[in-house]
Amino acid sequence: MTAMGYVPSWLNRDEVFEFLKPEPSARLDLSHNCILYLEDLNVSFDGFKAINNLNLYIEPGELRCIIGPNGAGKTTMMDIITGKTRPDSGKAFFGQRIDLLKMSEAEIAAAGIGRKFQKPTVFEELCVFENLELAMAGDKAVWPTYRARLSGEQMDRIEETLVLIGLENDRWLRAGILSHGQKQWLEIGMLLMQNPKLLLVDEPVAGMTHQEMDRTGELLTSLAGERSVVVVEHDMDFVRSIARTVTVLHQGSVLAEGTMDQVQSDSRVIEVYLGE
């Protein structure tokens, strides 16, 4: 009987070969009203557990704020979703079918997840218009990029985005000389050009003036609805002004979830934030 154990699995006629199974559909499937699933994620760096059994679900069209003290794993979570970091265990799905853990950064971006980094990283040597042009969704292989010409429709989209982010008069400015707030908006604009279904926004108002903050808040709320927006932010006033649902992360897992008021009256949250 032990000899049977040596028979390779590919001799089993009742099984379908791995490579014959149909590829999971690349289309975003929102049938269970959930655009992002993170389940039982674990990541550790040199023994430090940055993410610890994290579970998070985002609905389509939702604007979700994620708060938490330093080292709570907010940025690591973003890294996992965008493919920069691979978790040790767990699942990350975009819609019902798209397995984020099997995709590269570029594939994830193409599938419809856009990310705005903590530090604004626009292409400083290119002008505002060109920054948006490069970010635009489309065929990004080498030859099509070489042959690319802007169509009227694409011009209109860039135009729309320029108006939305309030940089329509600065389109030929080199991005490097924009103010900090303008760079943040440009970066959000670049995200929009990718036409993402899910926007990940990391600390959008860090270092902004109050006026700029208000403007950013308006921008983000206007974006939710058509797309889902996940905002990671430290600034409580800002979170209060835009948030509908808030998730509190602590030591790599979800501590509390609810409206801002619910969360702020949660005893565990108070403990973590005030150190009682």
Binding site: T82, E105, A106, A109, A110, G114, R115, F117, T121, V122, F123, E124, E125, L126, C127, F129, E130, E133, L134, A135, A137, K140, A141, V142, T145, Y146, R147, A148, R149, L150, M155, W172, L173, R174, M190, Q194
Partner: protein, 387 residues
């Protein structure tokens, strides 16, 4: 039409290519029409020297495409230059036929000397000009492709990549020094007789090679300009400045780098192929890391990220080299070092940066309604598309 649209926002390029055309015509005319003792007569020796400079200029354009626009500081472009040169040299060796010292119709002299009985397999086909020309493009291209595929996929960047390119050319130099490699060892390939049936000693052939170099430089320049004008060029600049960010907006950075780097290597190979018949020899010293570094210095002195700056730098530095090595041979390396230091300190945008101050404020120059064509150097095509 195409050329015009490519150069629409490239004043430096227009000046450069016009000057190249005028100088080429003047050189050819004065060499052919004026009597030998005329003041304005350009001797054939000078024509060949100029042709050599043009090959260097094409190499510099290739380096600038990779370094100035894509951010890959290649300290090994001399390797691609030399490989193109070797491919051409092998063709020229086969053309010698039985006119070699040993009179062997099949084997080049050095093989007879080494007691080889038959031609190694990799020498077959090189008696055909078309085959050799394909190899001129293919060999540097394939090496760059394989090298880039490995390096860019594992995300080797910056100084580490520079060091590896340096090691690449050094390893090739050591390999080509070996007699067993079958490329003539440290003597290299030389004693060429003719190309396509024309004697290499003849004035007309030398003029022809000079003209071919000028055409290759102009074509290579326009090709690179068409890349930098395209969205691919803008993506390259974006990669140069922030590679990770480009990845997150959905471009396959390694593929784009690979394509542009390979193109750059092929251009370097073409430059090498035109260089060899004009200097009459190719040996492993062409792989020397020093040569590759010198090419980078030309680009830095001329002005990185402008393409025409690379040409200006290559021509000026090489003219200086010819002058100094004749006038005061010991001083040349000091002079080169001093120029490099001074340019880096006082002219961070290179020599052409002196004449292109207005591109510090691209807002004006870039505006499509402005009609000012002195536009920025890096991203010239855009206002065209905006109409």
């Amino acid at each position: 039409m195409l050329i015009k649209s490519l150069l629409a926002n490239d004043r430096g390029g227009r000046i450069l290519l016009t000057a190249l055309l005028l100088v080429s015509v003047a050189v050819v005319a004065s060499n052919q029409l004026l009597p030998q003792d005329s003041m304005l007569h350009v001797p054939t020796y000078t024509v060949t020297l100029l042709g050599k400079y043009l090959c260097y200029a094409l190499l510099a354009v290739a380096v600038d495409l990779a370094w100035g626009y894509l951010g890959i500081l290649s300290l090994g472009h001399g390797a691609f230059f030399a490989l193109g040169g070797y491919a051409m040299g092998m063709y020229l060796m086969r053309q010698i036929g039985d006119r070699g010292v040993y009179g062997n119709p099949e084997l080049p002299d050095f093989m007879v000397f080494l007691n080889w009985q038959e031609l190694p397999w990799f020498w077959s086909g090189f008696d055909q000009f078309w085959f050799a020309m394909i190899m001129v493009l293919l060999v540097p291209g394939l090496l760059a492709f394989a090298f880039g595929w490995l390096a860019f996929r594992s995300r080797v960047t910056g100084v580490y990549l520079s060091i590896i390119t340096q090691a690449l050319t050094y390893a090739l130099m050591l390999a080509f020094f070996r007699n067993e490699m079958g490329f003539g060892g440290n003597n290299g390939l030389t004693d060429f007789k003719d190309i396509l049936g024309f004697s290499l000693q003849a004035d007309s052939t030398r003029l022809g090679l000079f003209i071919a170099s000028a055409i290759a430089l102009a074509a290579g320049y326009l090709l690179c300009r068409s890349v930098t004008n395209s969205r691919l060029g803008r993506v390259s600049v974006a990669i140069r400045d922030s590679e990770d960010r480009v990845r997150f907006i959905g471009y396959r950075v390694e593929k784009i780098k690979l394509a542009v780097f390979t193109l750059s290597a092929v251009l370097a190979g073409v430059a090498g192929a035109l260089y060899v018949p004009q200097v009459g020899i190719i040996n492993p010293n062409e792989f020397s890391p020093l040569n590759s570094i010198e090419a980078v210095v030309w680009v830095a002195i001329g002005g990185r990220g402008t393409l025409f700056g690379a040409v200006v730098g290559a021509l000026l530095v090489n003219y200086g080299k010819s002058y100094f090595t004749a006038a005061m041979p010991e001083a040349w390396l000091f002079a080169l070092g001093a120029i490099f230091v001074l340019v880096t300190l006082f002219l961070p945008r290179g020599i052409v940066g002196l004449f292109n101050r207005d591109s510090d404020q691209p807002s004006k120059a870039r505006h499509p309604t402005d009609g000012d064509d002195s536009g920025p150097v890096t991203t010239a095509a855009l206002p065209q598309e905006a109409h």
